[in-house]
């Protein structure tokens, strides 16, 4: 019997006791922070993950993110075409200028941009301690700087002073006592990030890298930063570099800029866009289907299944702003549709990102963040503010010529050309041109705030806007977690 006992004991020990690592269980189907950031591939994955922040619901999401609401729906460009219900009160709050501090469009924008910043910081903190190919390393580092600056530029425009986080925070309490840095400090970081980015980012982006930033993307962003800071000299110089490199141009046909059929190589206008892809791989956009008339799907829309979401519905004011002959109107908005039974329903909706033959929320069309038309119009604006009205008009008219289907390069004045404007009229013309050129591209609110015109324009059209609406409120959740942040004036 002693033998039996010995066997039992032995068995027990064999099964359990002698394995020291019995309690060390590492995930086998999940990746852990501990074994990441070791190889060039890891860093590439981390950089791609940072780009993916653009699809965070607090940025562009799949076409319904915070920047759509806070950049477009809040303005006179669009509204929300759904039926008012308790579940969508927070969406109507935006167009009503009746913001709740807890509205998730604000918290999501705050959280999303900082998530991107943390992702960039994690790369920058570690990349120098790992040895690998210098070219790749410099590209990844520059991309992290570029993305971080873009996220901060959005944050500072949406919320004003924001806390500056330059390194990855690994302690959950690590941001609980941060205070908001002055605008100048935030812009200083943005500028220094972009200077590194423009120096180190690739000159040319191959088709295989479509979606990544080039040094020209960084320069465009830097041009916009300077324009926002009213440093018009610097802005003009930076933007002129992009024009002079002669690599970008306006697509002859406006609608082609947004067409799914336009390949990356053929699209000379886009400097960077949020990349979408159909095929039910989690990368499609709802830029078209969610923006169709609320709760409707008819054959004319050409989407398989699903119902329209009524998001980003053009206002009558926007539709009537297009001049006769402006080809952008037909490429941007529709004002009626036919039911399956053939009767016509009058309802406005955006078709700029139209793509038929796909299923809802799964279209390919990319969403441009920077395109050449913006570079040209910003350049024109900077020139004008510097007193060079003639050159400014020439560039403004380039965009108009394309819009009306005229030759961009012709020396002679074209029918669409504007002339003889004084400074005030130029500014209004520029305001209108940007509104129509970039309708639905989430520029409107930022443009009107930049030029100081938001209150005036919106008040004139009867919106209940207040002076403090040139900034959004610091989200309730952030204030609760860090009362030291303080709220923006007026909220």
């Amino acid at each position: 019997m002693k033998i039996t006992f010995a066997i039992f004991t032995l068995l027990s020990v064999l099964l359990t006791g002698c394995r020291k690592d019995f309690l060390e269980v590492i995930p086998v189907t999940e990746r852990t922070v501990g074994n990441f950031y070791k190889t060039p591939e890891d860093f590439n994955n981390a950089v791609v993950g940072t780009y993916a922040t653009l699809k965070h619901p607090g940025l562009y999401g799949n076409g319904t993110g915070s920047l759509i609401w806070l950049g477009e729906t809040v303005t006179d460009n669009t509204d929300y075409g759904s039926t008012r219900q308790p579940v969508n009160i927070s969406s109507f709050e935006i167009e009503d200028f009746n913001f709740s501090l807890s509205n998730s469009y604000f918290s999501s924008a705050w959280v999303g941009h900082y998530a991107g910043i943390a992702r960039a910081n994690a790369i920058l903190d570690r990349i120098n301690s790992i040895e690998f190919d210098a070219t790749l390393k410099s590209q990844y580092e520059a991309e992290a700087h570029f993305l971080r600056s873009m996220f901060y530029f959005n944050l500072v425009r949406l919320f004003g002073n924001v806390p500056l986080v330059r390194i990855e925070i690994n302690n959950p309490n690590g941001a609980s006592n941060l205070s908001r840095n002055p605008l100048a400090e935030v812009y200083a970081l943005i500028e220094s990030d972009l200077k590194i980015a423009e120096a180190k980012l690739p000159d040319v982006i191959s088709a295989a890298n479509a979606g990544r930033a080039s040094k020209w993307t960084a320069k465009a962003l830097l041009g916009k930063v300077y324009l926002t800071l009213k440093q018009f000299d610097k802005s003009a110089l930076k933007l002129k570099e992009i024009i002079d490199v002669n690599r970008f141009s306006l697509m002859p046909n406006y609608a082609d800029v947004f067409a799914a059929s336009t390949s990356f190589a053929n699209n000379k206008e886009v400097l960077i866009a949020v990349q979408y892809k159909s095929g039910q791989i989690g990368q499609g956009s709802s830029l078209y289907s969610s923006w169709l008339p609320f709760n409707v799907n008819v054959p004319e829309f050409g989407i398989t299944g699903g119902l329209g979401g009524g998001i980003n519905r053009p206002t009558a004011d926007l539709v009537s702003a297009y001049e006769n002959g402006d080809l952008r109107k037909a490429a941007s908005v529709a004002t009626s549709y036919k039911t399956a039974q053939g009767s016509t329903v009058n309802e406005r909706y955006a078709i700029k990102f139209r793509q038929t033959g796909v299923i809802p929320n799964d279209s390919d069309v990319d969403f441009p963040i920077f395109r050449y038309a913006d570079v040209i119009l910003m350049y024109a604006e900077a020139l004008h503010e510097n007193g060079n009205l003639t050159e400014a008009l020439r560039y403004l008219n380039m965009v108009r010529r394309r819009a009306f289907g005229f030759s961009i390069t012709a020396a002679l004045p074209q029918q669409s050309d504007l002339s003889g404007l004084n400074a005030a009229a130029f500014r209004l013309a520029m305001e209108k041109e940007r509104r129509l050129e970039f309708a639905f591209e989430s520029h409107r609110w930022f443009d009107l705030v930049r030029t100081g015109r938001l209150l005036e324009v919106m008040t004139a059209k009867g919106y209940p806007i207040k002076p403090h609406h040139v900034l959004y409120p610091v989200p309730q959740r952030e204030l609760e977690l860090n009362p030291g942040l303080g709220q923006n004036a007026g909220y």
């Binding site: 999940e30 940072t50 309802e347």
Partner: protein
């Protein structure tokens, strides 16, 4: 009631028969055996101790036995009665009274890693005999346990076959770590894994007893898994003696216990017309009620088919279309028996329950073999093998109708639509610009949506026990719980959100869950004079691996192949989760003079789940008991049969913190680069090396009192529990790059009183026994990460309806407080704050008036407050057994009192799209002259006042008293059954849920969409109601 005493006596008896030696005198003794009420007891086995002499009492209780020893001692045994030894002395005639066993202190109670008798217990443990739960025709034993045990709160949150139950022992101790108790089946702590409810895999008929361990003294031996309480399930094992073959079969029918009275088609149409007109006037400044549809925005047009309400008549009752009379049946064949050296219990069962909603069911095939053998005087071995196979047809019953929820669809669907059109196709609503919505025909969903589940589970374990010396035993157990389950979902293209054409989709998942365990214990029992010791020491190791693979497909060209193979597989994943636990355990039981009792336990648990710097936890407990009735001074109080007071204190833990939570992880953040899907990775959680178990300290004071020769037994406990270091997902500032982190913090308290009373009111030929238990628990959150932190709870996508915050119970209802309905425009303008600001500027007569909680002149999210509690003030169970000769009647009832239910079913249905109840139609506001009941406002679609915002309007008293079962038994008398060559025959009929007394106006006050989500409990959002059933059964033994 336990069979162990019988078994033990049998062993003793057999042993004595073998060693009987001296034969000196001979005489014949006659006598009579009676029960406590002097009724004759037949079939009592009477043996002379130490001899082979035996007799059986006749129907009048009389017997006659030949005695051969010098000072003979009689041993009397009878099923259901306590064995008794009686010295004969010089008597020639003897009268002996037997006491019913259930009242006895020698009942064996299963505790962790051992057993104790009831009288030795110092902890709070309640026992339920297997036969008490087998009368309830349900799939899982947890449903049958409802109302049987004090301190054990069970809610059948879904009436689906195999549906979920929410089980709480002594309240909610964890906010996010799970509150389900640990289940231990034949010594094996099983993981909660599988499809549906894991307890469905156990056949209730195989259960010998269930012991519910409640206080820390009882549960601390389970260390880091003990704080939610422990439920120990012991299955039947073979007994030496005559082989027994038993057949149990029942069959019956179930039905929905209550229907909700809905608007008919004419009323519905009128409701829609009113809703759209009101919405139009509200939203369009110059609109007039006479404006035709062509002038109105789509949402406010009146659909052509509803423009003449009175022409529509009754229409369709969609509830009749989805509910059915559903059969339920159960068959079990079992065999048991064996010799002293080898005992067996085998059983096979088949259970089939169809759901009361079309196309839902559960089938279970189960088998069990429990074998015990004696290799030598010192070594015994045994094994249990219990495979079971379950198949289930599930449907999305309790969902929003947008996710194909069948009940919601049936209640919301327009009654002017027929179930089938004249051409045989399904009647349906097609979303149109008029703003219909995508409510599907619920019959079509039930017929076309497919969600089959299947699960194979085998619990297997083997033990060997070796007596090193008679008082020192070593026992080793090796076991495994092997669990495979799979689910499939098929949604054909015909079930699209936008009929008629949609996209078919399918998904499938398969999971392998293997949980293995080895336990090694040493026990030492010794009595020295008045000192009795019972020592336990042990070492255990457990490892669980859950490996799941799932895939989804789309792009189906047709609906011919109803699984992922019919389309293009476009998603797939594998998820492997492992955890390990190593433990040392020990226990000391000491008693002095059988009067003063002490139990101390200590367990050390290490687990892979805990952070690297906090890997081991120590869990001690101590308890004392004093059997006052054994003191000499108590002997003078004859009506006190037994009196014991107990006290315990201990520390236990909850390790349900999830796997890998301490390890910082990455998650996918894929993107498109170069027009191709490109993997991206980002940090998704913080690392926390300190992350550990949730701790719970519990104090318990108890008293056990039996009076009048055990006619009245009474147990009461007061407990106080404090859970600390809870698993807490705290919100962190967005500037960290993440929004949450997992830490241990917070404090929750539960205090309560449990009472259980068992009385034997009548003990004669007509017997009447009563069991009653009641529990009062008070739950309170004492600390969270910050004083003002609120964790919101939400169920079924209903938004934030509950809150967990300091000073209140976990998960109380939280929202706007409805003050009434504005009756006139003046009431709206009068509702202003001190500064004259109108609080609800968009409101009109007929709209809901809310309280301005913060008093700032604006009604918004800051005007929410605690509205009520989903937790009962008390809950109780009550059962009565009446028997007369061969007939007995059992009635069990249970109830909960003082809680509220959020009835979300109709919350969205005031907008002129969906149907609503007749009550709302009759009691809504129409005009100041027809103000309704003051709770329901006017019918309005898209109203500017947003009347359907969650508020106290949707909370209802959820108190109920439910007659759970009424069972009538007829048992054939021994002599008769033996004539037809049987050991026994019992016929029974049971009605389940025949009556429910409640003011709640939904189907069932018990069900909830929340399942086990304690942060948002008691939400009725189209939940699957529990069935009322009637069954007939027979139990035959040969």
């Amino acid at each position: 009631m336990s069979c162990y005493p019988v078994f033990r006596t049998f062993v003793l008896f057999s042993f004595l028969v073998v060693v009987s030696a001296n034969v000196i005198a001979q005489k014949t003794l006659s006598g009579k055996v009676t029960g406590e009420a002097r009724q004759a007891l037949a079939g009592v086995t009477i043996t002379e101790k130490g001899t082979a002499n035996a007799a059986v009492s006749k129907d009048d209780g009389s017997f006659s036995i030949r005695l051969t020893s010098s000072s003979p001692i009689l041993v009397l045994t009878n099923v259901g009665f306590a064995p008794r030894e009686v010295a004969v002395g010089n008597q020639n005639e003897i009268s002996i009274t037997l006491t019913e066993e259930s009242q006895q202190l020698n009942d064996v109670v299963v505790v962790g890693y051992g057993t104790r008798t009831k009288k030795e217990l110092t902890g709070a443990i309640s026992s339920v005999s297997g036969k008490d739960i087998q009368q309830v025709p349900v799939s899982g034993l947890d449903q049958a346990l409802q109302g049987k045990v004090s301190g054990l709160q069970i809610s059948s949150t879904s009436g689906a076959p195999g549906g979920n139950t929410n089980i709480l022992i002594r309240g909610i101790g964890s906010i996010s770590g799970g509150n389900e108790p640990l289940f231990v089946i034949d010594g094996f702590p099983v993981a909660n894994a599988g499809v549906g409810n894991p307890l469905n895999t156990i056949n209730p008929n195989d259960i010998e007893s269930i012991d519910v361990l409640k206080d820390a003294s009882a549960t601390a031996i389970y260390g880091s898994r003990g704080s939610n309480g422990v439920i120990i399930i012991t299955t039947r094992r073979g007994k030496a003696g005559k082989a027994r073959l038993e057949l149990d079969a029942y069959s019956g029918v179930q039905q929905v216990a209550k229907k909700i009275e809905m608007m008919n088609a004419a009323e519905y149409a009128q409701f829609v017309v009113d809703g759209r007109n009101n919405g139009y006037l509200d939203n369009v400044p110059n609109g007039r009620i006479t404006d035709p549809g062509s002038l109105r925005p789509a949402s406010y047009r009146i659909p052509a088919e509803l423009q003449d309400p009175t022409a529509l008549g009754e229409g369709t009752d969609w509830q009749d279309a989805i509910f059915r009379n559903a059969p339920i049946s159960n068959y079990q064949l079992s065999a048991s028996g064996g010799s002293e050296n080898f005992k067996y219990a085998l059983s096979g069962g088949y259970f089939h329950q169809q759901g009361i909603i079309l196309n839902t069911n559960l089938k279970r095939y189960s088998f069990r073999a429990n074998l015990d053998g004696k290799v030598s005087e010192r070594l015994s071995v045994g094994a249990s093998l219990a495979p079971s196979y379950i198949t289930q047809k599930n449907l999305p019953v309790a969902e929003h109708y947008g996710s194909f929820g069948i009940i919601q669809s049936a209640l919301s669907m327009a009654p002017n639509i027929p179930v089938y059109r004249a051409d045989g196709s399904y009647g349906s609503l097609i979303p149109t610009p008029e703003g219909y919505t995508n409510i599907q025909n619920p019959v079509k969903i039930a017929n076309e949506y497919k969600n089959p589940l299947a699960q194979f589970r085998m619990l297997a374990n083997a033990y060997a026990e070796y007596s090193i010396i008679p008082s020192l035993k070593f026992r080793t157990t090796v076991g495994a719980d092997v669990n495979y389950y799979k689910t499939q979902i098929w949604i054909p293209s015909t079930l699209s959100a936008s009929a008629p054409v949609g996209l078919a989709s399918a998904s499938a998942s398969q999971t392998e869950n293997i949980n293995w365990l080895t336990e090694n214990t040493l026990t030492y029992k010794r009595s020295v004079k008045q000192h009795t010791f019972d020592l336990l020491g042990g070492f255990t190791a457990q490892k669980a691996i859950n490996d799941g693979i799932s895939a989804g497909a789309a792009n189906f060209p047709d609906n011919l192949v109803e699984n992922i193979n019919g389309g293009t597989v476009n998603s797939g994943s594998q998820n492997i989760q492992e955890y390990t636990i190593l433990s040392w355990l020990s226990r000391v039981n000491y008693s002095f003079n059988d009067k003063y009792l002490f139990t101390g336990t200590l367990r050390r648990d290490g687990s892979s789940r805990f952070g690297a710097n906090n890997r081991w936890g120590t869990f001690p407990s101590a308890s004392v008991g004093w059997r006052i009735s054994e003191e000499p001074f108590m002997k003078s109080i004859p009506f006190v049969s037994d009196l014991k007071i107990r006290a315990s204190y201990g520390l236990t833990g909850n390790n349900n913190i999830g796997n890998y939570r301490a390890i910082g992880q990455l998650s996918d953040a894929n993107y498109v680069i170069g027009d191709a899907l490109t993997p991206g990775l980002v940090r998704s959680s913080f690392s926390n090396d300190q992350l550990g178990w949730e701790s719970m300290k519990q104090m318990d004071f108890g008293i056990d009192l039996s009076l009048l020769n055990y006619r009245v037994s009474f147990t009461a406990d007061y407990y106080e529990k404090r859970n600390t270091d809870m698993l807490f997902v705290i919100s962190v500032p967005g500037a960290t790059g993440l929004t949450s982190a997992v830490v241990n913090l917070g404090k929750v308290q539960n205090r309560g009183v449990e009472l259980a009373v068992t009385t034997r009111n009548l003990v004669g030929d007509f017997k009447w026994n009563t069991n009653f238990n009641i529990t009062f628990n008070r739950n309170k959150v004492l600390a969270m990460s910050t004083e003002g932190e609120k964790i919101f709870g939400s169920t079924g996508g209903r938004g934030n309806t509950h809150v967990t915050q300091v000073g209140y119970p976990v998960g109380v209802f939280y929202g706007r407080r409805q003050l009434g309905i504005f009756q006139t425009a003046k009431e709206v303008t009068d509702y202003a704050n001190a500064a004259g600001t109108i609080l609800q500027p968009f409101a009109k007569a007929g709209d809901v008036k809310w309280k301005d909680v913060d008093g700032n002149g604006v009604i918004n999210d800051n005007d929410r407050e605690v509205l009520g509690s989903p937790h009962p003030d008390y809950f109780f169970g009550f059962s009565n057994t009446f028997s007369y000769r061969n007939i007995s009647l059992d009635i069990t009832a249970n109830g909960m009192v003082g809680h509220q239910i959020y009835d979300a079913t109709f919350m969205i249905n005031n907008s002129g799209v969906q149907n609503n109840t007749k009550y709302v139609y009759d009691n809504r506001f129409i005009s100041p002259e027809r103000p309704g009941d003051g709770r329901y406002g006017r019918s309005i679609r898209g109203g500017r006042n947003s009347n359907t915002i969650y508020s106290s309007q949707y909370l209802f008293d959820g108190s109920y008293l439910r007659i759970r079962t009424v069972t009538l038994n007829y048992t054939l008398s021994n002599s008769l059954s033996q004539k037809i060559l049987m050991q026994g025959l019992r016929l029974y009929a049971t009605a389940t849920n025949p009556f429910t007394f409640t003011k709640f106006n939904g189907y069932d006050p018990e069900v909830s969409n929340s399942g086990d989500n304690i942060l948002a409990s008691r939400v009725d959002f189209g939940s699957y109601p529990n069935a009322r059933s009637f069954i007939m059964g027979v139990n035959l033994s040969f």
